[in-house]
Symmetry: C2
Subunit: 339 residues, 2 copies
Amino acid sequence: MKKKLSIRDIANHLNISKTTVSFILNGKAKEKRISDVLTEKVLKYIEEKDFKPNQLAKSLSTGKTMIIGLMVEKISDYFFAKVAYHLEELAYQNGYKIIYCSTENDTEKTKELIKLFHDRQVDGYIITPPVGIEDEIRELISENLPVVLFDRYLPALDTSYVGLDNFGGTYNAVKHLIKCNYKNIAFVELESDQTQMHDRQQGYLKAIEENKLEPIIKKISFQNTTAITVDELTGLLQKQPEIDAMFFATNYLAMSGIKAINQLNLKIPDNIAVIAFDDHDVFDIYNPSITAVAQPIDEMAKELINILLDKMESRTEIAAVKKVEVPARLILRNSTRNS
Amino acid sequence: MKKKLSIRDIANHLNISKTTVSFILNGKAKEKRISDVLTEKVLKYIEEKDFKPNQLAKSLSTGKTMIIGLMVEKISDYFFAKVAYHLEELAYQNGYKIIYCSTENDTEKTKELIKLFHDRQVDGYIITPPVGIEDEIRELISENLPVVLFDRYLPALDTSYVGLDNFGGTYNAVKHLIKCNYKNIAFVELESDQTQMHDRQQGYLKAIEENKLEPIIKKISFQNTTAITVDELTGLLQKQPEIDAMFFATNYLAMSGIKAINQLNLKIPDNIAVIAFDDHDVFDIYNPSITAVAQPIDEMAKELINILLDKMESRTEIAAVKKVEVPARLILRNSTRNS
DNA sequence: ATACCTATCTAAACCGGTTTAGCAAGGACT
DNA sequence: AGTCCTTGCTAAACCGGTTTAGATAGGTAT
């Protein structure tokens, strides 16, 4: 088990000081007036031994870890997994790595995780915040650490943010249903005080009201599972049998809804139309395929990294606030009639 | 912007040495004979200031980072995302964090990533290896670093490994099809030299041969996408119209297959039965729901962490080899006739 | 001969912890 | 009085880098 080479070993071997080696390693040879001859010699030796400086030591003295902390609600969810995948790619291209965690949307767990990331001195934070962690985020920013919120924001806090135009996405989708002549459009959402739910609901309401229709809102309270049960759906349809279309505010909600609709032996879209918010591989292969409001995931990832990179590399003020709302894309499939 | 407290600041403030503070922080007060009075005083101050030691400095001197490097083929795939989720949870409970990367099954990228993790001195590696990185893995192990392979192994290398019983899982699933009186069962797989594909194929062949049926194997070569096209399926069915069941060797393959089957207006399971290897949320909500060979994801995650933890905490020899093949679970749904 | 550049390179402090070796004081034993 | 423990604590080296503030040698202008 050969032990790793250090900068000191190199210096000793070549009979020079480690300062010199460090300068050369960091491309400061010219600036620090190290002769070309010596520079060459050192570089050659480094190449030969495939020397890699110890990142821990480097981080300790520079204070930079080149690590981005990513906290999403649940890394195994389709949307977050995809975003993580793109973020990782982009971060990697810029020399950064990602440490990630799932918050489970639990405020206490998130507080702990923020502390953990902080102790590990990550250089930047991407967070899908649960409610109630305003103080911790504020604290980070006051320490001059780059933070970008994602997917949902904290209304009480003026921070950088990347998310979807939830309002517009829903509004357009519901308008599309209306144009296809659906008259009784139910909106199924999770009992939640997160901004994205709220914005989606507002988008729905605006479209409904503009067209003088009656809003039908069903809130699903979720314990462990974000699903609508057959019983809940049956109840809804008994109370309001006129429902001819359903807009599900999340993809998992839509999946459970579709399953329930199947179990009641209703046909999509003949008996009932379906639109899901947030696309999923499933919706494309499903029979019938399911119309969905899609988030442009790669675009969001790009915006996130750009904003964070600008802050981390001090190209912009770290406290500078940049909010981006990317437009949603309505992907028309076969779970709705054509207009 | 208050600057962070260090162990030296604490020592100075209390007029003691930082050695003492360090001992107390690490619970070695008793062992190092620090008086209870002083211990109390220090702990109180630490509590009061909410002091957290700098992990970088700690890692630099101890050589431990408490970070596990996870390299999966693609973090956004259903299976890997789920595994990652469970791993993160378990690692977290044991004080470890996870850094992850997607290899894209690209040997060169994987080599780079291993180097990267190595530079960052992660304490342990969980890797789904692409072919051709035997040397790098061997190198890690020879440096006494804990490594566990996952999902697939490298036949040329005797290392710890956690994976599914691919052979048995496929064998049982195909036997089930045969019991349900299907006679012409096609096996659709990816053109790949990974062990898990090979093992699945062998399981299929054994079941077919034992029952004196004719094997029908279709290999899909994949560039960007792991999918079977409508054309490919049409071709297959034209050549062998007797096919009455299809076993797809991966879940994404199954999804594309199901989509193609739909487009050919064939009915599942009336015209053709379907079984997928590797479960997916989709299969449960699909109509008809799809029978699948499921990997017990949480169990696999548990095994992985256990083996790795044993090595990392030196409870077992680091080079000790422990191979675990967990049995697959056949989840019967509605894409096959009953027996 | 003196003062002043300039080009090259380096000693030493620093980042914030861990750990080894050992000091000082008091008590017990002979 | 001398030896030997035991208790309670600490100085200083170390991990492997970065960075500041010079040191040294040779050349040039006065």
